[in-house]
Symmetry: C2
Subunit: 338 residues, 2 copies
């Protein structure tokens, strides 16, 4: 195939930031994605209906004219979140709330340290049809085992709120996928990023130190990567795209205490097309990018299409905002047309 | 104890670099160490007797007047090394030769890809009483398993050259120590760095990305760290200090492709005193720093002493050459006096 036209995709996990950075990066998501689930771990965070409305306005103001893009809004759960806050946020259009364990990633200092204390809030989410998105890492565990060691907490949540829809975000290891398959639970899904389909820990620390390959959860072994690839390429119904595209200015990455996050929005679809094409499965791309996630969230499919063409895409070395993108300087064999 | 005076230590693994960097950093080793085994992976590398003589001169010229410091010279093994090169280097005073597998660390591009091809050279080293120092990582293995997966190659060398003295440098994992103990071989020893007694992989990638904690082999799990600590504190006869102090300018660490290496020379003794003191074993410090290594190498003990005092040592945030030291900005409770 020289080109493939797919239904306009959704990105079910993206960081658009705020202010100048938001104005710089939103175009790269809005260009190719019909919708994106926008993470609430801004600074200050998105905690309630008022924040949701204000942040939605800020995002929409950053969408270039002519692009059709809908931000899917979220709130961040803290120990101050109440059932009323949840219900009000839902009325304001938030479709999900995000659980960050304390200290696991960017701006998670005031995250949750005891999931059980959230159960009344989670019940309210269950009642009003809000999805729980989880950064599933146990911060006190060894870095490579944080994800698998968090899984029992997800089981605790399942037992307390069996009808709550729950997404384990940006899974990186085979253990999480086994957990997903063992549960056979229609209310549980995972998102998978583009970079975790391509990187292992060797790409972060195995040669020189590569801050632009550093994210949380950190990339794991090649066996883990292959398990993710298998789930994505086999059309697993409960695995869908969440890029976790996370822009940081170059100076926040290339420094003594580098931020976690990979800015993949500009290359995500092209890189995915290459991955699916290399495996002779381009016809399955659309399911991963455009329908499996909408099905899980109970959203209509996007109108419109995106076309990917087999032509050289030299990835820019830098993007507005001074952000180094994933695969900077490489040339991809596929390109998404605007 | 408020102070401890020990025989002047040896550092059996240090990178002094060349040119301006060498002139900047040599003082920090010469200040407290009577001797140091100087690594030959400079650029260009130290490959033969001529290089040994020239490099020794360059190092000695960088030792400040009044300090008594002897560089212990090494050559780097490549596939171009011959038995004659080895014998000539030995005559020029080189006491060891270093084996870097191809591609494992700084300036190892032209390293060794087939250890067996080196056997004639290793036999010549065995004959003339030269020590083999090994960076024991299998480059094609997953980063955290490279060290343990290299161990069979060491057994190959043992079988071919049973009388060759061999040091497995900067060991980082429990498997290497088990290997050492299983062999019960008087001709085999390991060096242990200060930073591997203090760091795990969590300190590199577990929070923000810390390039100043990034070295090869990379720090492993806490279980591995505790195994190293146990060996050092128990006075293991075949474990001695090699700091692997490896200065890089700040810009070579805080960048898109950060160099591996931790500059520990300025803090090594103070940090060690703290480690031994915290475990109530200050009386064993001298064995690790000043006699176990000399015994293995068959060298006389150093003349002179170094005194460590229990007083506040605020580690500078930067050293001449623009190098960020290990533990920069921290305050250590022990300080080595000049």
């Amino acid at each position: 195939m020289q080109s493939i036209t797919i239904r306009r995709p959704d990105d079910f996990h993206v960081h658009l930031r705020q202010g100048a950075m938001l104005r710089d990066v939103t175009i790269e998501t809005a260009r190719h994605f019909g919708r994106a689930l926008v993470m609430p771990n801004t600074d200050p965070p998105v905690l309630n209906a008022g924040h949701v409305n204000a942040y939605r306005e800020e995002i929409l103001a950053a969408v270039p004219p002519g692009l059709s893009f809908e931000p899917l809004m979220t709130i961040k759960l803290t120990h101050a979140t109440t059932p009323k806050i949840v219900r009000d946020a839902r009325k304001a259009g938030a479709i999900a709330a995000k659980l960050y364990p304390e200290g696991v990633t960017t701006n998670s200092q005031e995250g949750v340290h005891d999931v059980r204390k959230l159960f009344p809030v989670l019940k309210a989410m269950e009642d009003c049809g809000m999805v729980l998105c989880v950064h599933g890492e146990l911060p006190e565990a060894f870095c490579l085992q944080r994800e698998r060691e968090f899984l029992p907490k997800l089981d605790d949540i399942r037992r307390a709120c069996p009808d709550l829809k729950m997404v384990l975000e940006h899974v990186t290891d085979a253990a999480s996928l086994r957990w997903l398959d063992d549960r056979q639970d229609d209310n549980v899904a995972v998102t998978i990023t583009v970079h975790h389909l391509l990187l292992t820990l060797d790409d972060v620390i195995g040669g020189s130190l590569k801050p632009h390959h550093f994210c949380k959860p950190v990339a794991k072994t090649n066996e883990d990567r292959l398990a993710l690839l298998h789930a994505v390429l086999s059309g697993h119904a409960h695995c869908f795209l969440g890029t976790d595209s996370a822009p940081h200015a170059q100076a926040k990455k290339e420094c003594a205490e580098g931020c976690a996050g990979i800015y993949s929005a500009p290359v995500a679809l092209a890189a995915l097309a290459d991955i699916f094409d290399q495996n002779g499965l381009l016809h399955r791309l659309e399911y991963f990018t455009s329908t499996a996630g909408a099905d899980f969230y109970g959203l209509p499919y996007n109108e419109g299409t995106v076309t990917l063409e087999r032509r050289s895409f030299p990835v820019p070395r830098s993007y507005p905002g001074g952000v180094i993108p994933f695969l900077a300087g490489r040339t991809l064999p596929w390109k998404a047309t605007d």
